[in-house]
């Protein structure tokens, strides 16, 4: 291709912006949903009720063993049969990512919960707090603080993984860049642009994580 021509970046910006908005929305929703469901899954995995723990464990192991792009495809193809009605690519992406990320957040929250010393549970019980109160007021706040860096790092991974929605034709940032690249026949330049954008966003996020880590870390 010899020389590069970066003038294609200009006209691509509106599409990049739209794609980025979708990417961010997907990331945010999947993160929030994933953390909530993941925490519930973690509680299930740690619960003394064996069947519940088994089911949660099986779900997590399954999700962690299949490439995300296949999960995306499966959900897209299978949800219509479950619900009886087709769902759009975006809805499907949101459901898939939430369900998939929940498995990863579950593992993070599980180790977060386990990282809280056993003595804390004893102390809470000894004060007369019940199981649920102990979880809500004593264990989870510490687990989240301990795991915040890992939770956010996983979110950065999630942000990058959203590029896999190409498999179901949803239009994220990478897709938008790809289409512009094809229209102007400058695919390489557009890939370079998306690499730069991804890097800029992920790198700032990981810097932010480091700052946050210093701020919220529990003084022991």
């Amino acid at each position: 291709m010899g020389e590069f021509d970066f003038s294609v970046w200009g006209p691509s910006l509106p599409f990049i912006r739209d794609g980025l908005l979708f990417t961010l929305r997907l990331t945010l929703v999947a993160m929030t949903g994933g953390i909530v469901i993941g925490t519930l899954l973690a509680l299930a995995r740690l619960s003394p009720i064996v069947p519940l723990a088994r089911i949660a464990g099986a779900y997590v192991d399954l999700m962690r063993s299949i490439p995300l792009v296949l999960v995306i495809l499966w959900f897209f193809l299978v949800i219509p049969f479950l619900t009886g009605a087709p769902v759009g690519a975006e809805t499907s992406a949101i459901i898939t990512f939430t369900a998939f990320e929940a498995a990863f957040y579950c593992e993070i929250m599980r180790s977060g919960i386990q990282s809280v010393p056993r003595g804390q549970v004893n102390a809470a019980f000894a004060l007369g707090l019940g199981q649920a109160q102990t979880m809500i007021h004593v264990i989870l706040p510490q687990a989240v603080r301990n795991m915040l860096p890992v939770l956010l790092t996983q979110t950065i991974v999630l942000f990058q993984d959203t590029s896999l929605v190409y498999a179901i034709g949803a239009k994220d940032m990478l897709k938008a860049a790809d289409v512009v690249g094809k229209n102007y026949n400058r695919p390489v330049e557009m890939i370079v642009l998306s690499a730069l954008i991804y890097f800029a966003i992920c790198f700032s996020l990981s810097l932010a994580v480091k700052q946050l880590q210093k701020r919220v870390a529990i003084v022991r």
């Binding site: 003595g119 102390a123 809470a124 004060l127 007369g128 109160q133 529990i218 003084v219 022991r220």
Partner: protein
């Protein structure tokens, strides 16, 4: 107040408590000692139901701890406990640590709970530190906060599990001072400790455990001057040696 009768406990195939029995009357201080792994922590945790036990009965103020019908949280709210590693909640300020259970368990209003908390902090000499976080305090200060936290629930008795053994030597004194004061005010206490000076000063009886058994249960003077068992003698020699 506390009655322990024929309590045994197994972890799988290993027996960690063997037919233990003792009692603590109202206003009495009983010290429990013994080598590491002898089951002291396990025994004291059985008293407020933090550890389930396999056989025997324990009653606290007439309520049976092992009975499945007993409302354990309610019972525990009336029994204070202080741990070796303080176990303050590190994500809450000192006064929040004191208020949490008062609000959530006793149903006191947040203001009332905070006021009671501050009063107790005053008592252990830490009023100035009310809004600090546990991690910003020294070990001795943290343990005094932990005692105040237990007192905030207006307990009928207090359990201590090696309250000074995670402390630097210069801080042991400040914690023991608070405990001695409590004892002198008539608090019922069951204390696992190796601080024999404390035992001599305020304990009524010493319970000596080894390998899950209560080997000796004797009045303080008798325990120190004429321990009945060989094991207690060796133990005392080791621990008073230096």
């Amino acid at each position: 107040m506390i009655k322990i009768q024929n309590v045994s406990k197994w972890y799988g195939h290993t027996q960690v408590l063997k037919d233990c029995g003792t009692h603590v009357a109202k206003g009495e201080v009983v010290v429990v000692c013994g080598p590491s792994g002898s089951g002291k922590s396990t025994l004291i945790k059985c008293v407020n139901g933090l550890e389930p036990f396999t056989q025997g009965t324990i009653t606290v103020d007439g309520i049976s701890v092992g009975d499945p019908k007993t409302d354990l949280p309610k019972l525990r709210a009336r029994v204070g406990m202080v741990f070796q590693h303080f176990e303050l909640f590190p994500h809450m300020s000192v006064v929040q640590n004191l208020a949490l259970a008062q609000v959530k368990v006793l149903g006191r209003s947040p203001d009332e709970a905070a006021a009671r908390g501050i009063a107790l902090l005053d008592r252990v000499g830490l009023r100035a530190h009310a809004s600090k976080f546990p991690g910003q305090l020294s070990g001795g200060q943290q343990q005094r906060v932990a005692i105040a936290r237990a007192l905030a629930m207006d307990p009928i008795c207090l359990l201590f599990d090696e309250p000074t053994s995670a402390l630097d030597p210069e801080m042991i004194g400040e914690v023991l001072d608070v405990m001695v004061e409590l004892a002198q005010e008539g608090m019922t206490m069951m204390v696992v400790t190796h601080e024999m000076g404390f035992a001599r000063k305020v304990a009524k009886r010493v319970v000596f455990m080894d390998h899950g058994e209560i080997v000796e249960d004797a009045p303080v003077a008798q325990f120190f001057e004429a321990p009945a068992s060989e094991r207690a003698k060796t133990f005392l020699a080791r621990i008073l040696h230096h």
